[in-house]
């Protein structure tokens, strides 16, 4: 115990003495001057309560961006915004059920596991609560009686990747799946396979362990020297793929789905080829805004078809502009 105390004292000593003159919070605060305005309601409609229930797991960067879009729209529209999530279909349905009991004024849900959600969406409809689906479930959305669906069609997004790889003259691609059994992931890779004339194979890695992701991609690149492009399905995995490429001394181009600050800087310095953005901020923002429009003006978007927020192919050219937005967590 005494030794521990000594170490504590020593560490605090160094922490007080050793400040970094570069980077860190201070640098961020300096950048923060021209940051987005904080939300003040722009309308005088009643303070309705909208709830969003997603299939996100804990600590997922992507859903964080969806949420920040939803929150900003809620601030603007004078909405009380509630959020809950569970990656278990059954629990997600129970969460929706509890919000129906709470009599919220509108619901935003994802249909990653459509069958589990079917009954509660119908129940919400019977209770007169408008439902908008986002992100996944474009096929089931209309049949279940949702107003509209806002999101990216995973197959179409995959097809865009296949096209882009084709345009870049690639021959053998690798599609890195970090969650085995995720339907959306399989659709993305299958879509890419459809439009890509070369050969595309899937590689499964353990998304909860970055060293495993790195070593698996590295092993694959060593085993198959002819691979000339690697596509990861989530932004955090692009960096691991880039490191794997370096240690395997491969010439493959690294491309990815989704954005984060690191992906954008990778695009900028040429470590990454392109990224496919489905604009999660827009998915959250539009869903809340549309619910408000429906309540206020009975407006509906899409005419019964999904409203697509992606895929948008982002390359070196766009990187400089997007840097500001990824850093504040809205792109």
């Amino acid at each position: 115990m005494r030794a521990l105390g000594a170490v504590l004292a020593a560490a605090l000593g160094t922490s007080l003495a050793g400040c970094s003159s570069t980077g860190g919070k201070r640098a961020e605060e300096a950048r923060e001057a021209a940051r987005n305005a904080t939300g003040k309601a722009a309308v005088t409609t009643p303070r309705w309560t909208f709830a969003m229930i997603t299939h996100s797991g804990d600590g997922d960067t992507f859903w964080d961006i969806v949420q920040s879009g939803a929150k900003q729209a809620a601030d603007k529209d004078n909405i009380n915004f509630l959020y809950a999530h569970s990656d278990e279909g059954q629990q997600q349905a129970q969460l929706v059920d509890s919000y129906i009991t709470k009599k919220v004024d509108g619901l935003v849900v994802t249909l990653a596991k459509p069958d589990a959600m079917k009954d509660v969406v119908a129940k919400a409809r019977r209770a007169g609560i408008p439902v908008i689906t986002v992100n996944s479930g474009s096929e089931a959305s209309r049949a279940y009686g949702a107003l509209t669906h806002i999101g990216q069609d995973e197959t179409i997004a995959g097809e865009a990747v296949g096209d882009e790889l084709e345009r870049r003259g690639k021959k053998r691609a690798l599609c890195v799946i970090h969650e085995q059994g995720n339907v959306g992931h399989e659709q993305r890779c299958a879509g890419a396979k459809k439009t890509f004339a070369g050969q595309l194979q899937n590689l499964y890695v353990d998304g909860t362990s970055m060293p495993d992701v790195l070593a698996s991609i590295e092993a694959k690149l060593q085993a198959d020297r002819s691979i000339d492009s690697v596509v990861t399905l989530g932004a955090p995995f692009a960096d691991a793929a880039a490191q794997a490429k370096r240690s395997a001394e491969s010439k493959a181009e690294i491309d990815t789905f989704d954005l984060n600050p690191k992906v954008v800087s990778g695009l900028k310095d040429g470590t990454l080829g392109f990224a496919v953005d489905q604009q999660p901020y827009l998915q959250g923002y539009q869903a809340i805004d549309l619910l408000w429009l429906y309540r206020y003006n009975a407006d509906v978007l899409g005419g019964g078809r999904p409203v697509l927020t992606g895929p948008q192919i982002v390359t070196e050219k766009d990187a400089a502009e997007l840097e500001r937005y990824t850093e504040r967590g809205t792109r």
Binding site: A11, L12, S15, G18, S20, E218, Q222, A223
Partner: protein, 354 residues
Amino acid sequence: MSATAPPATPDKAPSAADERLLRVSPLRRLMGRPELGSVVGAVAVFLFFSVVADSFLQASSFSTVLYAASTIGIMAVPVALLMIGGEFDLSAGVLVTSSALISSMFSYQMTANVWAGVGVSLLVTLTVGVFNGFMLTRTKLPSFIITLGTFLMLTGLNLGFTKLISGTVSTKSISDMEGFASAKEVFASEWTVGDVTLKVTVLWWFVLIALATWILLRTRFGNWIFAVGGGADAARAVGVPVQRTKIGLYMGVAFAAWVSGQHLLFSFDVVQSGEGVGNELTYIIAAVIGGCLITGGYGSAIGSAIGAFIFGMTSKGIVYAEWNPDWFKFFLGAMLLLATLLNAWVRKRAEATR
């Protein structure tokens, strides 16, 4: 169970004492080592993939396998020691992530030299180890429950604190801060020997194996570990400080979690708060394949290293063999089961010849 513990141990202890007086042939002595079965398993897995996967025998492939094994192995060493001491740690996987998050966020928020964050992280991580050990010995609850509680709390804290402090669920980049380059040298550098690129984690791993082996076989603390794992009450009766030993073992796990966490941070720069869940099982599996008994009192540090190596070879060998990835998890499970069975079979054989 506690009442029967003292009579159960004499059965083992005196015979071990007698054996020391006997002249035993080196081969015989080798046969009695806990890691023997896993060595045979490792050779079998190695030969298998050498045959089915063309690129498995390349030097560059070897370094990849070694890296995969080392990231598991660094944690498997103290986890094995803990298991020899008769306890589990389910919080080990998430603690790695916690440790990386703490370093990153402390340095960032304080705009401090990253070494300050690294130091604070070591303290906090060790404190979690002390907490685990202290709760365990004080409450007398099974370690399964205590560390399950810690596991859940840490998972929540990782997410909650990261969101609260950084505003997002992953940390901000600290790669442009002072001290980053030197810390990266220590925790995430790599160097090339001929065709082989070795990562520094391999070095950390080997040092930890050597240290743990020395502690187990040459020090009094090592004897205490075997004693508390064989029977805590008997050990206490002969004057072994059971509480201190167990807290020490949990601190060992915490220290390795700190090393792994710093590696995670300095090689990937940005840490996701949801990572690490499920890895604790991998560490335990590596220790078990390496010959640690789940009931405690038996095992070795080298065994855990061979277990981690089998795990690394299997998971990457499947990729080198280019098998249909849909069956990946099945292959992995089957290989691990086979390796463990072979391990148990060899050990039984070895014990029968004694």
